[in-house]
């Protein structure tokens, strides 16, 4: 267990030492989204009855920031260690693949949640939100960041160069998060795109998270929990299999 705690500590210390770019920068980015979209759309769009657009947007932005940063944490840490070669410091000691997985995953969750809290606190200046179902909110925050943390481990192990990781991020993670209902309800989409959105797991993370705030969502929280839960278990299992086999880490 000491090995696990140490690796978790090291991973958290790593992002905390550069918190300017790992925490503050994403909070600023989210703030810009909020300023622009609420300025443009506040007067024109009301997604749910009684919920102003800015209020609707905040949970989406918080969750999007959490997910993107959870992914960034594990993936960038691993690719940096692989490219600089210091991954051997983690491979030579008797760390089990389970400890390795848990430490990287949990550090990603922590980074995601810290950024999410930061975004939430900043948005308080623009809109007050009441949280109707905090438990749902917490469950989706942890499962969502966990999934993206696991995905980050997979991408970090798979990628051999920074541009491969950037491709993974730009062609998979970014489109999935942007097209997941952060900025809109999927009910506003044409029928075809509504259907497509239902195959995007991130849609369920955002939708479930938003339900935690407003008690209303595009689909039921139970369905979202099911989809997100299955994704979490499946991706964790895949990550563990890769780590156990030594895929791209132990030749």
């Amino acid at each position: 267990m000491v090995g696990f705690y140490t690796l978790l500590y090291k991973e958290m210390l790593r992002f905390w030492k550069v918190s300017f770019q790992t925490v503050l920068a994403p909070v600023i980015t989210a703030l810009l989204y909020l300023l622009i979209f609420s300025h443009v759309l506040e007067a024109h769009v009301q997604v749910y009855p009684g919920v102003r657009y800015t209020a609707f947007l905040v949970p989406g932005l918080v969750m999007m920031s959490m997910l993107q940063n959870a992914f960034a944490n594990s993936s960038s840490s691993l690719i940096q260690s692989k490219i600089t070669g210091n991954i051997v410091f983690m491979l030579l000691p008797p760390l089990s693949y389970l400890e390795f997985f848990a430490a990287y995953l949990l550090a990603s969750v922590v980074r995601g949640v810290v950024v999410g809290l930061g975004v939430f606190v900043v948005t308080l200046a623009f809109t007050q939100l009441t949280i109707l179902h905090p438990l749902w909110l917490i469950v989706f925050a942890f499962l969502g960041t966990g999934i993206l943390g696991a995905l980050g481990i997979i991408a970090g192990i798979w990628a051999e160069k920074f541009d491969q990781l950037a491709a993974f991020q730009n062609f998979l993670i970014m489109p999935l998060t942007f097209l997941s209902g952060v900025f809109y309800s999927i009910h506003s989409l044409p029928a075809f795109w509504q259907e497509v959105s239902r195959f995007n797991p991130i849609f369920y993370m955002i939708d479930g998270f938003r339900y935690g705030f407003f008690g209303i969502a595009d689909v039921t929280p139970q369905l979202s929990l099911l989809v997100v839960g299955v994704c979490f278990v499946a991706l964790s299992a895949l990550t563990l299999i890769l780590l156990k086999s030594g895929y791209k880490l132990r030749h």
Binding site: V2, G3, Y5, T6, L7, Y9, K10, L13, R14, K17, V18, S81, T84, G85, N86, V88, F89, M90, L91, L92, P93, P94, L95, S96, G246, R250, H251
Partner: protein
């Protein structure tokens, strides 16, 4: 304890695609040995070390450290092993002390500061303890790599070319420290291209060539295996008696190098020179060293 070999390798093969990097290595290193693994680049030294360390998986065969199989019992193996990697790697996020504490934690050790301070003192790192790794010179980073391999006091220590690109001062202090660890009972395995280091330090040597062990013996026996000694001579007049012509190995700018099969041959050579009225200006008798053995072994196999 004493009967378990520190390292036991049986019929180890490793393929990288079409490359047969290790072709059936059998090796046994006893506890307390100071062992050298020599060979040209690409001979398979680092591959062998990587398999022992669990960084690479063997295609077939078995390997064990202190009796623990490197695959089945990987946690016990890695606890017993300290590896100084060949590549000069470091984590740019941390200071020297942070790095050593973190490395201790990976091995399950929580309060290791006394030992960390001791290692740093031996490696002259104390005044760099709170410096970020990025700011250290290459030689200092090499010292930190050595320190990292020792945080858990491993009974078996493998050093993969620890003195490559390192200045004389560090080499000497490093070897003094490693020698002390060996005297304290640690088994040491090293690879190096500086054969005089291996000759001075190691009690036993394995030479690898193209994935095979081509020589494996005590350093003393390997040196004895080269019977020929060389006698270097500068003489006036510069004309060697005909009877000695068969012994000439080389002649460059007035310097003859003669081969002697035994020390006893000296007498005959000197007698012939005297008879011919030749005066000796300069004379040196050279011992065969590990480099001669290495060249001979690599050339023959």
């Amino acid at each position: 304890m004493g009967t378990t070999p520190a390292i036991l390798v049986r019929q180890l093969h490793k393929h990288f695609g079409s490359l047969h990097a290790l072709q059936g290595i059998d090796l046994e290193v006893q506890q307390g040995e100071f062992f050298a693994l020599l060979g040209p680049n690409g001979a398979g030294k680092t591959t062998l070390i990587s398999i022992l360390a669990g960084l690479t998986r063997a295609s077939s065969g078995s390997a064990a450290v202190m009796g623990h199989d490197v695959v089945k019992d990987y946690r016990a193996t890695r606890t017993a092993l300290g590896v100084v990697p060949q590549e000069l790697v470091y984590d740019p996020f941390f200071t020297v002390r942070e790095g050593l504490r973190i490395q201790s934690g990976y091995f399950g050790l929580r309060h290791n500061d006394d030992w960390i301070d001791e290692i740093m003192a031996h490696l002259d790192l104390l005044d760099k303890a709170d410096r970020n790794m990025r700011t250290l010179s290459g030689g200092m980073k090499r010292r930190v790599l050595v320190a990292q391999a020792l945080v858990h006091k491993p009974p078996v220590i493998i050093l993969d070319e620890p003195t490559a690109g390192v200045d004389v001062e560090l080499r000497q202090s490093l070897w003094a420290f490693i020698r002390k660890l060996n005297e304290d009972g640690h088994t040491i395995v090293l690879t190096t291209h500086y054969l005089e280091e291996a000759q001075a330090l190691c009690n036993r040597v394995a030479m690898l060539k193209q994935g095979r062990i081509v020589a494996l013996d005590s350093t003393a026996n390997l040196l004895k295996s080269i019977a020929e000694r060389h006698l270097c001579l500068r003489i006036t007049p510069d004309a060697l008696p005909a009877g000695l012509a068969a012994r000439v190995v080389s002649y460059t700018e007035g310097l003859y190098v003669l081969a002697l099969d035994h020390y006893a041959d000296m007498e005959g050579v000197l007698a012939q020179l005297r008879e011919s009225g030749i005066c000796i200006q300069e004379m040196e008798l050279t011992q065969p060293d590990l480099e001669d053995v290495f060249v001979q072994v690599m050339g023959a196999s």
